[in-house]
């Protein structure tokens, strides 16, 4: 095969990939506008546009500007955060089960947040801060427990699943002790919900994203090399230890800020990467496609929970119902191909 043929084939693949990513972005934009327009009262695109541009919108300011826009925006941001954090872990550890929501990092944030609310009566920013610190601490504990005599991805996953179970039990226990008036705030930490999303919730997630996303994107080529094993990556000039720590801290912090804003929305981090890989294929960086799929999952699941049933369900319940069969599917598939976890 000639250089021309290889160049051509690679450019062709990159172009195809670009189109698919563009299509995902278009779907997300459409969903975003649909989420802002649809509700008990329907507002057309023109009205939404006038709210966005600050023109007179004939009374839609409150519902569109203060309720639906922050909700949809937060949905997109946390979806991106979950998708990026999830695919970073899954790629680095070469295992779809290594997603931070499966290995207990969300659970750490949730348990700490519920404890802060129920025991110490904390609220607002304090709770978010506690959640972020707890997520990082949980990740550190899981990492340290798993590096005994050399780092092993499988051990990290199994330790993480154990820790997640323990933390979930803690959360349930704390909730059973919660006073009635705390329960509403604390329940959000169990399922994950975009209810009562405001611009105040959006800000910290947006800032975390502006800081962390570029770092993770820059590191995404190293991430792809880590996928081939530590020795292979190191032989190609990757500083394995430093890169892994950077990726873990970046992904966990991003996830923690998102979790602090809306609770642990089940299975989004877990599903986004594999679905994105199925759509755009392997080869390029998995981060951008997973980010878009994560956002699409959250926004569409939230719309389903809001409007598809008689009762309104929080987004975390919808993604939980979608995610559980997906988890089973992946387990069965890995079993069939003779793999272990």
């Amino acid at each position: 095969m000639t250089i021309e043929a290889i160049t051509h084939a690679r450019r062709h693949r990159a172009l195809r990939r670009g189109w698919l990513i563009g299509a995902l972005a278009a779907v997300l934009v459409a969903l975003f506008f649909a989420a802002v327009m649809i509700g008990d009262t329907f507002y057309d695109l023109a009205t939404v546009w006038s709210v966005l541009t600050g023109k007179d919108s004939g009374g839609a300011d409150f519902i569109v500007g203060k309720l639906r826009l922050p909700r949809a925006t937060l949905g997109v941001l946390v979806g991106v955060a979950f998708g990026v954090a999830g695919v970073t872990f899954q790629t680095m550890l070469r295992n779809p089960l290594a997603s931070p929501d499966i290995i207990g990092i969300d659970a750490g944030a949730a348990t700490a947040a519920v404890a802060a609310i129920v025991i110490f009566g904390a609220s607002g920013t304090q709770v978010s801060l506690v959640a972020v610190v707890a997520a990082l601490a949980t990740a550190a504990i899981i990492y340290l427990l798993s590096i005994k005599s050399g780092f092993r991805g499988t051990r990290l996953i199994l330790i993480g699943i154990g820790i997640a179970a323990f933390l979930n039990a803690m959360t349930a226990y704390l909730l059973s002790k919660a006073a009635q008036w705390d329960l509403q705030a604390a329940m959000r930490w169990l399922t994950g919900s975009l209810n009562s999303a405001s611009w105040d919730d959006v800000r910290p997630v947006a800032i975390a994203m502006v800081v962390l996303l570029p770092i993770l994107l820059v590191k995404s080529r190293d991430l792809g090399l880590l996928q081939m094993g530590d020795d292979a990556a190191a032989a190609l000039g990757v500083r394995v230890g430093a890169t892994r720590i950077t990726l873990i801290i970046g992904a966990v912090t991003l996830l923690a800020f998102a979790t602090a804003a809306c609770g642990p929305i089940a299975f989004v981090a877990f599903m986004a990467g594999p679905i994105a890989a199925r759509i755009v294929g392997a080869g390029g960086s998995p981060i951008v496609p997973a980010a878009l799929v994560g956002a699409i999952l959250v926004v569409s699941a939230d719309m389903l929970g809001q409007h598809a049933f008689d009762h309104r369900y929080p987004v975390g319940i919808v993604t939980g119902v979608l995610g559980a069969p997906f988890l089973l599917y992946l387990l069965i598939k890995s079993n069939r191909s003779g793999g272990s976890i």
Binding site: M1, M228, G237, A282
Partner: protein
């Protein structure tokens, strides 16, 4: 130019945790030649290879690349000169051959930059040299073991190193593919002048393909030199604990080790 490349281990002591595997070992790789590192299981030969490739920092001593301590060099600068193919690298799910081979270009690429002409040429040459050009657009998962090993070697070639280290490149391959891989490495050594050093299990193939043989025993270099001088009945007994007869290989004239077991000895 590769003749000027030197890789030297000076009094290296290597350990995993408290367990010392290699002690006070000194080794100079013959530039532009093929070196095979042989020894019994657990003698420290793979550990030594990892240290030579900067993957395992020595507890004592140092590894010098062109006279410079490898630990103080930038990882990417080392990777432009020195390649390593680990024993069992993992192909990411669904990746195509051309993309995997292209990953070998990493040390030559700037952050976020797209592929240069040199990158495309290196990948094309590597595919050509390993005769897998017609597999370029196939997923690596679908290939046979022998083809897959050639893909990994192609990745190491795309890296364009002057010194290539390989950890048991023939494991898991049947005898045909073992010979094929070793022939390929020999071609590479002749055509590009690449210094090749590999850990090999099969003493007879090592004796046939290597210019220089390094026998490692209990974490030390027991003997080093041309196979015809190194491979003797005494060495096989000392290093492998095996009684044997060494005869000239009827094909190549290199030493051929015939083991004497307890049974069926006529």
């Amino acid at each position: 130019m590769t003749d000027s490349r030197s890789l030297v281990a000076e009094h290296v002591t290597l350990s995993y945790g408290d367990r010392t595997v290699v002690e006070e070992l000194g080794l100079t790789l013959a530039p532009g030649r093929i070196t095979a590192i042989v020894g019994a299981n657990g003698c420290g030969k793979s550990t030594l290879l990892r240290a030579l490739a900067r993957l395992l920092p020595p507890r004592e001593g140092r590894v010098l690349l062109d006279g410079q301590d490898i630990a103080s060099m930038h990882p990417k600068s080392v990777a432009r000169i020195l390649g390593l193919l680990p024993q069992s690298p993992i192909a990411p799910e669904g990746i195509l051959v051309a993309d995997l081979v292209g990953r070998g270009r990493h040390p030559h690429q700037k952050l976020l930059a797209s592929w240069s002409k040199a990158d495309y040429k290196a990948v094309a040459d590597a595919l050509e040299a390993t005769s897998i050009a017609d597999l370029a657009e196939r997923p690596v998962d679908e290939l046979s073991g022998g083809q897959r090993q050639r893909v990994w070697i192609a990745m190491a070639l795309a890296q364009d190193p002057d010194i290539l280290l390989l950890d048991e490149p023939t494991t898991f391959l049947d005898v045909t593919h073992q010979v094929e891989v070793l022939d390929l490495l020999h071609d590479l050594n002749i055509r590009r002048g690449t210094t090749v050093a590999m850990v090999l299990h099969d003493l007879n193939l090592a004796a046939r393909y290597a210019d220089e043989l390094v026998a490692v025993h209990q974490g030390k270099v027991f003997a080093q030199g041309p196979p015809t001088e190194v491979v003797t009945e005494e060495l096989v007994l000392a290093v492998f604990g095996l009684d044997s007869t060494v005869i000239p290989d009827p094909v190549s004239g290199t030493p051929l080790v015939i083991p004497i077991g307890r049974h069926r000895v006529g």
